[in-house]
Symmetry: C2
């Protein structure tokens, strides 16, 4: 059974690969064309210019990085369940796209104004209000230790995302191959919630 990819799909797959690995500034239209196995002019036939093509790839990437956050944070699950769900789902998705967080965060940083205009309005952005309030409520109820909700949130996200951002550094430092790195990320699905809950539970 042969996968018959349409030209547009081939272009998008190639563009994603090249943009994510080289960034907007470092990517060449010729590289994308070669990767897709087509003529360079055909890129401009399907997507007017580099910027438009990048926007499509970036949006798709950003939607994969951000969306799950809200659905989990806004659910009615308990605080501990939310933390466990977040780590489980987030690390699963990112393990399949390890270079995505660095790509997205870097491009946001490089063009944050553009990002605000084009993404913020069209796309619902992580709104962890409910999650923050839930933490505060638990603190007041006395079911968890007194902790700053904002810092707890930042800690949760940091421990989940950073290993992918610092993947090369971690691999170099610890001498890990791809498989070992993957395994450690699998472990973190359980390690992070355990670490957090150990810290905040009374």
């Amino acid at each position: 059974m042969v996968k018959e990819k349409s030209t547009e799909e081939k272009i998008l797959a190639a563009a994603k690969k090249v943009f994510v690995s080289k960034g907007m500034a470092g990517a060449r239209m010729q590289d994308i064309a070669d990767e897709a196995g087509i003529n360079k002019a055909l890129l401009h036939y399907y997507f007017r210019n580099k910027e438009k093509l990048f926007e499509v790839v970036f949006m798709e990437a950003a939607q994969k990085l951000f969306p799950k956050i809200n659905t989990i944070f806004e659910s009615d699950a308990s605080l501990f369940d939310k933390i466990e769900n977040f780590c489980e789902e987030y690390i699963t998705v990112m393990s399949e796209n390890p270079y995505l967080p660095l790509f997205v965060l870097n491009e946001i940083s490089k063009d944050s104004e553009n990002f605000l205009e084009k993404f913020w309005n069209k796309q619902q952005f992580p709104q962890p209000q409910k999650f923050l309030e839930q933490i505060e409520k638990e603190v007041k109820k006395g079911t968890i230790k007194k902790i700053s909700p904002l810092h707890l949130l930042i800690n949760l996200i940091s421990m989940s995302i950073f290993p992918f951002v610092g993947k090369p550094m971690i691999q170099f430092t610890m001498g890990l191959d791809e498989l070992q790195f993957r395994n450690i990320m699998q472990q973190r699905k359980k390690e992070i919630p355990k670490f957090i809950i150990d810290s905040i539970k009374k």
Copy 2:
């Protein structure tokens, strides 16, 4: 009292600014020349080409990002003291150069082979062996809970560095201005050690 910067210093300062904000691929030699207020040809007089100039800037940046790790990790302080010292020193340095971690990690990711050759050998890289062994020792002594040393280390580094990597995202999401962000990072110098120690102490 006027600061009389030499041409070479002006170039390096300008190059740092442009490279860090736009990356190697996005930076233009003309931008650097303009930023330094000099002719473009003068760049090539002091530094043969773009790659050489970038290497100097990158090395300087990487040395600022990595070195403190070892000195702290290899000291004879207690585990808890090391964790506190690390957060204190690291966040202090990074607060003065908030865009440095993203720059360095991104460039490593984009050219990890080159990085290995040129940096690994010349520069001592973070070698947290002693720190990892120290954790294991404490676990066996029973002074802290049973925890994977590697995951504890990754957690510590993640919580310290990631907020700078994800700075724009965090600012957007939480609606923080520069001052508020700085304040939160100041708080984290104490919040992170407290969070960790709460989690691992018996």
